[in-house]
Symmetry: C2
Subunit: 435 residues, 2 copies
């Protein structure tokens, strides 16, 4: 028979090359987060299903979650996202710690999805969240995300941050178009899917959902808004023609103007763009929402998404504490970095020394030398068993080794080592005590 | 109502303090492994249950595994250990890569256990394995484990490596005592449990299992062996009195003498000790086996265990390739380091700068300064909103900040910043362009 050598569908084996790539990416995430004062955390791999039921969209629970009943009869799930665990943790500590609370994590998550480019069943996701900082937090999270991508060498030629505001979207969907809840939800979904369907299909869907010519016109105007300046004329046009009094229109639009001003002050004007189609589905967002897109036509997809949420602690009977978060998947990020040739070559390990002995009597001396080199922080491999130099050279080439230390009969007698530098093509004889 | 704020039983929330501790531990594991030329890998969180059924002890599958049926009707399990995944991965590559193959990983694993000190349901485990290196690999794995513990500041006063050999155990259990398979398995289990029961209970169990006075005597003598030198007289005594011809006695004992010689040559004589009770249960080991024990009477437990195995690739229909591995749990390691006061204090983040503005007009200047400091690799937090110095000082103290940069009306006018060094208790005024 023989078992399969393949990993479970939608998951990956990380061989050293892939693992070093992952380590490189995670290290940047940690470094940039810590530069901004974010602190590391992690939660459990399993949570009770109830936690996701209380928070997430129905689709996630019903179709995408890995849930099962444990041996103690608890309904549990492998975490499909990190925010609910974070909310649970912040609910424990928010009374004692100084605000704002800045946290980041790089958990492995699982979702039962059809594996495809940029989407797998098991993946890692960078999460950064700030609590108790209001609009300052929104700008900082976006700024930090840009810093992170820039730390890989990416610029505004490679990616853009598309921004919208759920308060503005609600103003239009609930205030201006004002359909029932079910139809409003359908509109949200439709906007999300806009770029994935032909424009005539989109228009007919709009008509179906609104079931009203005038409302469809408002909606079509909305999705065509291009800059935040367009919003002014849009609002002027429709509020002028409406009989109902505009309810707190300014309150719902002002934050959008404000965040663009702040981001421009931060020198991020080239990176950010208003986009009415960013609504973040049926998620729990209540303020600014954003997605980061690869600009390459070959890989036109979201690398990250996030926004403001006000009510995540309520499910724990805690007072509301506004948060802003971002989730950035390691799978689309790796695709992004690969598309733009921003990943170093990690196919081989970097080994400094190979210590080899040519006669059996030199074994002890060789292993002592290897220990000594390691104690001085040199990555060192000991070649096991005595071997011919030819074999050792071919091994060293395959393993990307920089220097070989040979100990033969002569060297052993003189307490010396012959060092071949394979990069500079030099050779030297050194007393072992001088290393 | 309100959901629970507690993590799922047997799992942990890693708040920043615990997470920084974990990062510190994992970083040492990575550094030491790479010093020895081990390369990083990772496998999937889920594997098909078949993989564990083919390899592991029945107890693990039946009682301890988190298994369930996925939406595609596959029987899968959250990995309870890493070695089967590694074997699956090595089966894919062993023909192409140069030997020995050195690999390490720090996966999160889950087992359905009764949570207790040193044992949780979710835990991380350092795994290092070497394939195709024979007895050299056994010594290197043990040497590397000692290096790892020494890198935390531990010495032979804190821990010891107890070593045995499955070939020697088999010689005694199967060759000398020669019971049926079921009873032999029971003897293995009994040895494993020896230190957890009173000696009279142990003796009566031995008599029950062997059901033979002479065999019980051999067994009691065996478990009392203290040094490898004792083995000589033990063998002389029993083979002298036996009528059957000793089958390859030397072959089965020689490797034990050999590894102790090698480990002494490596300067590890103070760390290693022969212990007949180390048999590693019903596991897949076929050669040297070892466990690393905390020497403290307060925390007398195994931190790590491992050994040689020859046949792990066979379940994939691949030729056998001998391997040596170690598993070291992060939970008992943390207990060990805590017991011996070897963990630094990670309760607070290390933040270098807090940038604060005292008038609203200075906000932009302050955020530019924060960006500049970060671009020079200083961990910097921006204090949001204008605030009184008193509040900023108390915040800085709570957050363990080293220096505060104040920008008030005066400083803004002069393009300056006032820097308070909270550690050295000094204050200076610096031109912003000079930072």
């Amino acid at each position: 028979m023989g078992l399969t050598k393949s990993p479970y569908r939608g998951t990956r084996d990380f061989f050293p090359k892939e693992m070093r790539t992952r380590q490189y990416i995670f290290k940047k995430m940690e470094e940039v987060s810590e530069l901004y004062g974010y602190e590391p955390y992690d939660g459990p791999l399993l949570e009770e299903v109830e936690l996701y039921r209380a928070k997430s969209g129905e689709e996630l629970i019903n179709e995408q979650i890995y849930s099962f009943t444990d041996r103690g009869n608890r309904e549990v799930a492998i975490r499909p996202e990190m925010t609910p665990s974070l909310a649970r943790m912040v609910a424990q500590i928010h009374r004692e710690v100084p605000k704002p609370i800045r946290m980041f994590s790089i958990p492995n998550l699982m979702r039962y999805e059809k594996p495809q480019r940029g989407r797998l069943r098991e993946f890692w996701q960078y999460n950064a969240d700030i609590f108790g900082a209001g609009q300052f937090g929104e700008a900082e999270i976006i700024q930090m995300a840009v810093s992170l991508l820039r730390s890989f060498g990416a610029t505004h030629e490679h990616f853009e941050v598309l921004i919208n505001d759920r308060r503005f979207v609600d103003l239009v969907f609930e205030g201006l178009i004002s359909l029932d809840d079910v139809s409003t939800k359908k509109l949200y979904k439709l906007v999300d899917a806009k770029n994935k369907m032909p424009s005539d299909k989109f228009s007919s869907e709009v008509k179906n959902i609104t079931n009203d010519e005038a409302k469809a016109v408002i909606f079509e105007r909305f999705v065509q808004l291009n800059t935040i300046d367009d919003i002014k004329s849009f609002i002027a046009d429709f509020y002028h023609s409406k009989t109902a009094a505009p309810v707190s229109v300014n309150d719902n639009v002002a934050p959008l103007y404000s965040i663009f001003k702040t981001l421009e002050d931060l020198g991020l004007g080239d990176y950010v763009k208003f986009d009415p189609s960013i609504v973040r589905g049926l998620d729990y967002y209540t303020g600014i929402v954003f997605e980061i897109f690869d600009k390459s036509p070959e890989n036109r997809r979201a690398i990250a998404g996030g926004g403001s949420y006000a009510n995540l602690l309520q499910i724990f009977n805690e007072p509301s504490l506004e948060g802003v978060g971002i989730g950035l998947g390691e799978v689309p990020l790796t695709d992004f970095l690969t598309t733009h040739h921003l990943l170093p070559d990690f196919s081989k390990a970097k080994l400094e020394y190979l210590v080899a002995y040519l006669v059996p009597e030199a074994e002890k001396c060789a292993s002592e030398l290897a220990s000594k080199l390691r104690s001085k922080n040199h990555k060192t491999e000991l070649f096991f068993g005595e071997a011919k130099p030819k074999k050792i050279f071919s091994y060293s080439e395959k393993k990307n080794i920089s220097k070989i230390c040979f100990i033969g009969e002569e060297e052993l007698k003189n307490n010396e080592v012959r060092i071949k530098d394979l990069i500079n093509k030099t050779e030297s004889i050194v007393k072992i005590k001088d290393i």
